[in-house]
């Protein structure tokens, strides 16, 4: 991936023309779309459907590679045998994730680390290979954002193939970051002009104040497993799955079989460590009995286990889980409290 970032300028008031080219080339384009009060990633058929103004969508963009329902085994039960049908991994479409934020794009790095750890989960990897991520740098931020505290920033290119930054009413800086980005940019290269004088990208980015120091939290976490802070912080947590399901870096899943008469399939569904049944044994014994244990697992996995074992950060600082939480479990606030323990 180590490729010199190409910087180009796109003179236009909106990126619709670029999206037009992508659609014309037959790519399946997923972008933020408004539906009623909420904005979420959906497949679009025309650039007019894209919602540019909102800061972030409710859910992350992981569904382009890790869908909420995915069929991993298809079978047909015969008289006294079973027919298992092959899943055609090549059938996944060429797609473009357009209009994601840097924290969405960065979410695919921990996902890739988990789904590629020793065993290669082709359901994620094949889709991810065929997905070009065109992210938009952030010119605004709100009180939930904390990407700068987890190694990111409003113009972070990690995980993006192309990044577009608005640098004026009729001008965008287009950074082509990876070979995959280079390939996709060929579709609209004629719309771009080389960058004559160096654009000060930072001038157009929002300011996201740092909330905590990642390494300090990482070190602190190895000594506070038994600390009562977990129960205190999770006393209001209701134990739903909203934080894990909207999170760009949560990869936990469940297997459930479905069968009607002879045909059936094994489905891979999103799951959450916040649910009480996530770790319950058939005997009824539950290693993570209280909501505090489960909240601790969520934080430890993202801020201690993944960094230590997979050398990736399990959180991109997008703040979605805090926005989506019915009882305002603000992770930025909780982690800052842990840092100051």
């Amino acid at each position: 991936m180590a490729m010199e970032i190409e910087r180009k300028i796109y003179k236009n008031s909106s990126p619709d023309a670029i999206v037009e080219r992508l659609l014309k080339a037959g790519k399946k384009v997923t972008a933020p779309v408004r539906s009623g009060k909420t904005v979420d990633f959906r497949e679009i058929k025309s650039p007019s459907e894209i919602e540019y103004k909102t800061l972030t969508t409710i859910q992350s963009a992981k569904k382009v590679a890790f869908p909420k329902v995915d069929r991993v085994v298809e079978f047909e039960v015969l008289k006294n045998s079973v027919n298992t049908l092959e899943i055609d991994f090549e059938a996944y479409p060429e797609q473009v994730l357009f209009g994601a934020r840097p924290c969405d794009a960065a979410g695919f790095v921990p996902l890739h680390a988990i789904f590629n750890w020793d065993y290669a989960d082709q359901f994620f990897l094949k889709r991810y290979e065929k997905t070009a991520i065109i992210s938009f740098a952030c010119s605004t931020a709100d009180e939930y954002c904390f990407c700068t505290s987890v190694g990111g920033n409003p113009g972070n290119t990690e995980g993006s193939d192309i990044q577009i930054t608005r640098t004026g009413n009729d001008q965008f800086l287009v950074e082509i970051i990876t070979p995959k980005g280079k390939a996709v940019s060929a579709l609209f290269d004629d719309l771009l002009v080389p960058e004559t004088e160096k654009t000060e990208k930072e001038k157009f980015l929002s300011d996201v104040p740092g909330a905590f120091d990642f390494d300090k939290v990482y070190n602190k976490l190895s000594s506070i497993f038994e600390n009562p802070v977990w129960e205190e912080q999770a006393s209001r947590c209701l134990g739903c799955g909203a934080c894990a399901f909207v999170c760009p870096a949560c990869a936990c899943f469940d297997f459930q079989d479905e069968k009607s008469l002879k045909k059936g399939s094994r489905l891979k569904l999103w799951d959450s460590c916040g649910f009480s049944g996530f770790t319950i044994h058939t005997s009824g014994h539950n290693p993570r009995e209280s909501q505090g244990d489960r909240w601790r697992q969520r934080v430890m996995h993202k801020f201690s286990y993944m960094p230590h074992r997979l050398q990736v950060r399990g959180c991109t600082g997008c703040g979605r889980c805090s926005r989506a939480c019915p009882v305002d479990m603000n992770i930025k606030e909780h982690i800052s409290q842990i840092e100051s323990l």
Binding site: D118, A251, F253, R266, P287
Partner: protein, 279 residues
């Protein structure tokens, strides 16, 4: 793993079903596909995911020893949805199998040592694999003691193999049932496994202890071993956490930062002590 689909099970046909105890059955399984049968190999202590298509998957250790070629065995208690549907199957039916997963009992390191196997209830199956593996290579080890306990006489699994072990001169077998679980003509011990173990006064020198059983039994057995002088890295156990994928992806079986399915299920007591109390 066919075209790279790591969740695709291989088909296995049920050769033989043995009723071990009420609601406990043992399946002897053979791979349907010859090629898979040849390439397949496993080490004692590893487990697999057994699937009933349309019902789901269950996690059991491979209960047969790797020294017995051409088939694998698993023993399970009928408890939930998948195990109930497994229990309804007959000989000749086909199930799915994914594996082998997890790490192993390091029996090579145990060469020249005494082995003390301690098992309770339905936890004998993971031990049976390593016991038969050691008995089939008996010359590698000094004396072998097996302490096995269950609630009642009827709950004892592998009854015929217990007889076999009892009649072998090179094995010291002690079978016990919980107080009140004995039958009138019961000749074995009566008492919980930890109390019977204390009575046996096991000597720790040059001995490896392997303990498997419900959490309550492990909680009372470890102190007995400690008091008898066993060091933490000489005590092995196998954990049974809830699992779905079995290969480190679905995120539920971890104890601290170790995944029971990848870094376990076999752990030494020393490892367990370093892990948080989350199993």
């Amino acid at each position: 793993m066919s075209n790279g689909n790591i969740y695709m099970p291989n088909l296995m046909r049920i050769e033989k079903i043995t009723e071990e105890a009420p609601f406990v059955k043992t399946f002897r399984l053979k791979f349907e596909d010859e090629k898979v049968a040849e390439e397949f190999s496993f080490r004692t202590g590893q487990f697999g995911e057994y699937s009933v298509f349309g019902e789901g998957e269950s996690t059991f250790c491979i209960a047969s020893s790797p020294t017995r070629k051409g088939y694998i065995e698993c023993t399970f208690r009928q408890a939930g949805k998948v195990t109930s549907s497994l229990a309804r199957l007959d000989e000749g039916d086909v199930i799915g199998f994914r594996g082998p997963y997890g790490n192993i009992f390091p029996i090579d390191e145990w060469k020249g040592k005494n082995l003390l196997f301690i098992a309770g209830g339905i936890a004998l199956p993971p031990m049976r694999s390593v016991i038969w593996n050691c008995l089939d290579t008996r010359e590698n080890y000094k004396d072998i003691t097996i302490l096995y306990g269950a609630k009642t006489v009827n709950d004892l699994v592998y009854k015929n193999e217990l007889e076999e072990w009892k009649n072998r001169p090179d094995v010291n077998l002690v079978v016990t049932v919980d107080p009140g679980g004995e039958t009138p003509d019961w000749k074995g011990e009566i008492g919980f496994v930890p109390t019977v173990l204390e009575k046996m006064k096991p000597s720790p020198d040059n001995t490896i202890a392997i303990v498997c059983g419900p959490p309550i039994m492990i909680k009372f057995t470890f102190p007995v071993l400690e008091k008898a002088g066993f060091k933490d890295d000489m005590i092995y156990t196998t954990l049974e956490n809830r699992m779905k994928c079995g290969l480190g992806k679905c995120g539920r079986c971890n104890v601290g930062e170790l995944f029971v399915c990848k870094d376990g299920p076999v752990f030494t007591k020393a490892q367990l002590n370093s892990l948080p109390d989350e199993y």
